[in-house]
Every structure is written in C-alpha cells, then in structure tokens.
C-alpha cells in the first residue's frame, strides 16, 4: 500500500506584493519585482508550487561607507565613491533589485542633507533600471527628513521606502501614500509587534499589498536562531489566516553578517576560523539561505559572490521535484 504523504492545506495565504514601475506604469524601471503569494511553507512544492521565487537585493550606499569590512571595499573598488557607478556594478553582479541605504553623515562627518540624498537616489535611478528600496540611516528624525523629499522626487517609480518602526512610521507612510510608493515595516523579532505595526500602517490608509515586512534578523552566530524562528512563526500565522501577518518578508542579511567579527576582521583571529574571505562569504550565504528556507522573500546582501551562491540555491529550491 503506498504511503499517504501528509500534506497541509491552509486557510490563508501570503499577499502578492509588487513594486518598481516600468514605462507602462509610469516609471523608468526595467522590470517589476513581485514577491509573496505563498500558499504553504517555503518550497514545499509537493503541496503547492511556490508562486514567486525569493529575490536578491544588493545593498549600496550614497557614499563610501565608513564602517564596512575592508573585504567589501576591495571587492567593489572605486565604485563605492559614486552611487550611480555602484548601482551599475551591483546590477552587473546579478542583483534582482537594489537597496540604497543612506548615510547619517556626509564624507566630512556633517549631518546628511536632504538635497544630497535626493541627488544620490536620482543617480541610482539613472544608472540602473532595477527596482529600488531606499532605507534611511535608521535614526527616526533623520530618516523622516531624508525619505520625505525622496518620496516626492521619485513619484511614479514605485519604490519601497524604510525604515518604518513603531515609533516612526507615520511620516514615511504618509509620504509613500502621497507618491505611490511602498514601505518596509520593521519590528524587533516578535510576531505580535510585526502584526501591530502592520495594523498601524494600514490604519493610515496604506493598502496591505504595499507593505513589505522586515521582522529583523541576526547574523549566523549572533542571533540568527531568533530571526529564523520568528519568520517561521510569522509564516505559519499567515497561512493559518492571520491577515496582518500575510505579507512578504525581507531581511537585511548583508548588514547583519558583515558587522560580525568573523566578516570584519582578518588578523589576530583564531586559525580555526579559516580563510577570511571565504569564511565571510559562507557567513553571508548560509545566513541568507537559512532565512530563505524559513520564509524570506527578499534578502539584501553585500557581496557579489554571495549573490551568485544564493541564486544557485534559489534556482535549485524552485525546481519542482519529480513526482515520486
């Protein structure tokens, strides 16, 4: 008697979210990113096919970063001095989309100016036609000050804008509403806090299919287990029908992994850590793949080789196994 394979059937499903406007939709992007739509847990294709593959973003900055691992600076070379050049290089490195993270200060250490931030975003949009996420530096007031003029200046491009957190979502959500953009909603690794924030954002009138949820993650060795489990729980809640968890998820894997000592430091570390570059790429790749398998729809990376490897992993995972 053949074994009956236990299959889950779920009441709920993840929303499909798209961003990045092509000419047809009044923007200048070469394609639109579409994520979400899952009707079961990641890649369980023997139950339901995975509707959209997870996508890979490369993170770039508006100027040469002060605190990035020297390995990354070597890999990217001089393009880090120009966001446009960097965007082009990132597109060539095989990213599906870009995340531009704004800096808190300019090259001289003075507070970042809104005009410069807008100029950087425009440069990126001109240099690369990939869909774009723009993130503020992560300080509530500065984020608002920089993101609002960007939202105004890029109306029609259908960007994703962040960081919306519980204490600081109104201004950015309002700017996204007014200019047809999306937002990313970040809560600190907690199912209820994620839900709560999504409720607050939709209460302002932004449709849920214009929110990408960022449940926050930690790197391998620095809290990945919390990120991994909270994403599994959020996805299970979504499938069980909890509407305010039914959003695609993004995770900033590159930011987290490249600040670990393993990735940042090459000297005076234990010999058992092995080759610095290969270790760092493994650190980023394994963090990304683990989180993709626990539900991430967008992973934001920093190293081109990690992009290549994560891409191979996604292609393999998307292949539908031969029926047994």
């Amino acid at each position: 008697m053949p074994i009956e394979i236990p299959k889950d059937s779920w009441a709920g499903e993840v929303r499909t979210v798209s961003f990045g406007a092509t000419a047809e939709n009044g923007g200048t992007r070469s394609k639109t990113i579409t994520v979400g739509g899952e009707k079961t847990l990641p890649f369980l294709q023997f139950e339901v096919p995975m509707p959209h593959p997870p996508v890979i973003a490369l993170e770039i900055k508006d100027r040469r970063p002060d605190d990035w691992s020297s390995l990354l600076l070597e890999t990217w070379g001089d393009v880090v001095d120009d966001p446009g050049e960097w965007a082009k290089a990132a597109e060539e490195a095989g990213a599906d989309l870009l995340q531009l993270t704004l800096s808190l200060t300019d090259n001289e250490g003075k507070p970042a100016k809104p005009d410069d931030a807008v100029a950087a975003v425009k440069k990126v949009l001109e240099a690369s036609a990939l869909p774009l996420i723009v993130m503020g530096p992560g300080q509530a007031e500065v984020d608002n000050e920089l993101i609002v003029p960007i939202a105004d200046a890029t109306k029609g491009e259908n960007l994703a804008l962040g960081i919306c957190e519980d204490k600081n979502y109104r201004t950015i959500v309002a700017a996204a509403l007014a200019n047809d953009h999306l937002v990313t909603s970040r809560a600190p690794m907690d199912v209820n806090l994620s839900k709560q924030l999504n409720i607050l954002i939709t209460d302002m009138g932004l449709p849920a299919d214009r929110i990408i949820m960022d449940p926050t993650t930690g790197a391998l060795g620095y809290g990945i287990e919390y990120g991994y489990s909270v994403m599994e729980r959020l996805r299970l809640a979504a499938l069980q029908g909890d509407a305010m968890t039914q959003l695609p998820m993004m995770v900033t894997v590159g930011t987290e992994t490249w600040k670990t000592k393993e990735a940042k430091v090459g000297e005076d570390v234990p010999e058992a850590w092995g080759d610095w570059l290969e270790r760092s790429i493994n650190w980023e790749t394994l963090t990304a793949v683990s989180l993709i398998e626990s539900g991430a729809d967008i992973v934001v990376l920093r190293h081109p080789e990690s992009v290549r490897r994560v891409r191979l992993a996604i292609e393999d995972l998307m292949a539908v196994p031969e029926p047994a």
């Binding site: 890649f43 991994y228 234990p270 058992a272 793949v289 683990s290 992993a313």
Partner: protein
Amino acid sequence: MALTGIEIYKLLPQTNCKDCDYPTCLAFAMKLAAKQAELSACPHVSEESKAQLAASSEPPVRLVTLSANGHEAKAGNEVVLFRHEKTFYNKPGLFVRVKDDMSADEIKTKVSPADAYNVVYVGIELEMDGLAVEAVSGDPNAFAAAIRVVREVSQRPLILISKDPAVMTEGLRAIDGEKPLIYAADQDNWEAMAELALQHETSLAVFEEDLDALAALTQKLKDKGVDDLVLDSGARSLNQLLATGTQIRRLALKENFRPLGFPIITFPGDADEPAMESVLAAQSIAKYAGFIVLDTFTPELIYPLLVLRENIYTDPQKPIQVQPGLYEINDPKPDDALLVTTNFSITYFSVANEVESAGQSAWLLVTDAEGMSVLTAWAAGKFDSERIAKDVKRFEVDDKVSNKQLVLPGHVAVLSGEVEEELPDWQVRVGPREAVDLPAFIKQVLTA
C-alpha cells in the same frame, strides 16, 4: 507517538488499589504521561498493556548512536518539526569523506586536520563528529587498508560506504568491536547487509529512491532484527532534500509511521558545484538530517556550519547565558578599568575574548540581564542604571577596583547620566559600540 494520560488510563487495571502509591489509576496514568513515574510501579498491569505502552513510549524518530574509542555521534529522538515548538535535541553529526582509491598520504592529509579541528564559539568547543570511508575501488583489501589508515590518525566514529557485502565484510574486520554506520542496504543486497549489521551490532543505512520502497525495506530489515536504521531517500538537490526530509519527519511525528521513524543521512559532498556543498549542509542542519557527509574539509566551511548547528539546536526557551558576576580578564590590578556588559553568552564572550586576546587586563562586570544582549536588555528594561548599580554592590566591585572608571557599552550611551547619579563615586565613560574596537579604546582613551 506518546499516549495521553487518558489513553494510558484505559490500559491500566482501573481498580484504584493504590499499590503504586498513587490514589487512583488515573493519577498514576497522568504521572506516566508526564514521564514522572515508571510503569513498573504498578504490579497488576497486563502483559498486553505493557507491550502497548512500551511501543507507544518509543520515540517517533529512533535514536541511533555511532561510537568508537570513546567518541559518540547520536541522531534521532526529535519530537518537533519547528524548533520554536519545543527544541531540536540531537545535533546532526558532521562527517568528512575519504575514498579508498586515495593514497595513504592523501587520506592522512585530509583526515588529520579534520580530526584535530577545534573551534571555540561562545565558550563551547566545537569539533567534527567523524569520518566516512567510501569503497570506490571495489577491492575489499583496499577498503580495509584505507580504513586502517584513517584509524592511524583519527579515533572518531566512522561511516563505511559500500554496497558490496564482501567489501563491507573486510571493512568491518578492520575496526572490529566499533559501532560504525554501514551504508547501505538496498533491495539487492539487504539480506547480506542485515547479516553484517547483526553480526557486528552496527547501525545500517537504507537506500531506496522512493519513500514507499524505502519504508518497505526498513520493514524487512526490522523483521530480520535490525533496529538501528538510517534513511537515504536518494535526494541530493536542495528541493528534493527539503521535500523528502519534510515528508519523512512529518510521517514519523504526525502519523507515528514507524517504517520511516529513523534519522536521515545526507551527502552535501555529492554537490556538483563546490560552493553548493556548504548550502546543502546548512539546509541539512535546519531541515532534518541526522548525519551529514561532506567531501570538503576547510575551517572556513566547517566553522560557519558548526555555528549554524549550535544556533538551530539551542533551546528557544532559554538563551545561552553566563553567570552574572565580576570577571577578571588577565589578572587585573585595582587600578584597571571596569567594563560593564550583560550576561547573554554571545555578548559576554564578544567582549571578554576581545580584551583577553589583546593581552589587556580589565574587570568585567556581567550584570544579570536575564540572558539578553545589550540592546535587547536595554529595550526590555533589564539593563539600566539601577541594575548596574545593584550589581556593582552585590559583587562588591568597590572593594576590588580602586580606579573607579566604569565603561558602558557604546550602544547604551544614553544610560551614562543615570549611572553617574546612581554611582556618584564612579567616573562613567562611554565605550565603543562594537567590542572589536575595545582594545583600541582601552589603549588610546583609558590608559593614555
């Protein structure tokens, strides 16, 4: 699957005779269900019930143990599909594979560093679990010779790989008395492999490319008396491994399907593209493998895998913590500075390792922040000026540290005013945000 108290009750005599020292059969049944009593305490239970209860108390995924020379690798006994539901218990074993067409030198060059590998992550020493030896030559003597070469440089548990019983026989003879895993029985060789497993009391891997055939074969092997089985469904790609791994685990846990209630073995080493080996191994760690066979051993591959395994297998209910207290780094003097941090293991070791390996001495006050990182604890109200001041007193820091320089983590610079108020005798300084920058800070700011 474990029975509920009521289900157990139905199997008891239901006379409430109290011979078990519980007031009623039901009370006893509840204790049994909670695993707080032993069935043997009831002298009246029937043989038939005993058998049923014994079967139901078997774990849904059988525990399989490989052992050699004082080393062990265990897999199985898992009870959940998702780690947040309870926890994952037995970390999958990481094995490095050599083949019997390699020269003795090649084998040693590969095995020795894997055997000696040791890395410390948050105070825990992590090592490889064992080695796999594969017969590709087809020559029983070459196989045995390769195994002996491995044994010259490593005493860890082995997985012996050959589907030819004659080859396997010689291989087992080379390590008589050990408990390796032999790989693998299939529909052609299963009887001879079962003989070998029984004769040498080893566990036995079973290979069949579809789950029906796999389950049918494990049944036959169990009927022969081989209990310690390990499954290989033939899956080698990420998508197949995820699908079959999930199906096997679900069948075992949700349907209590005995024929597939065994640990799974995977072979990331078979990957076509070398970079995918690490990805396949990472998936195996999170998604249900019990034994993982790699072809590549390099520290830069193994270290992240061992850390991932540690992370996925921590108990989600309790973060790994260290004891709060005043720690001494490199024999500090009374005039060395006092660094303050929390008792989350990762946090503590990040700070302590940095200062220690820089050869600097300092006092490190590890406050009781309920095992949380600096920012998490701060956001949760478990790391504030009051707690810091309380622990300064509780651990009698004033008696040991005369210089009265207290360094706060850079991430909680906002606390400095309040800490000054709580501890007026102390000069409060804000350190760098990341521990990596601490040695420079100590050198340039504190001792300048």
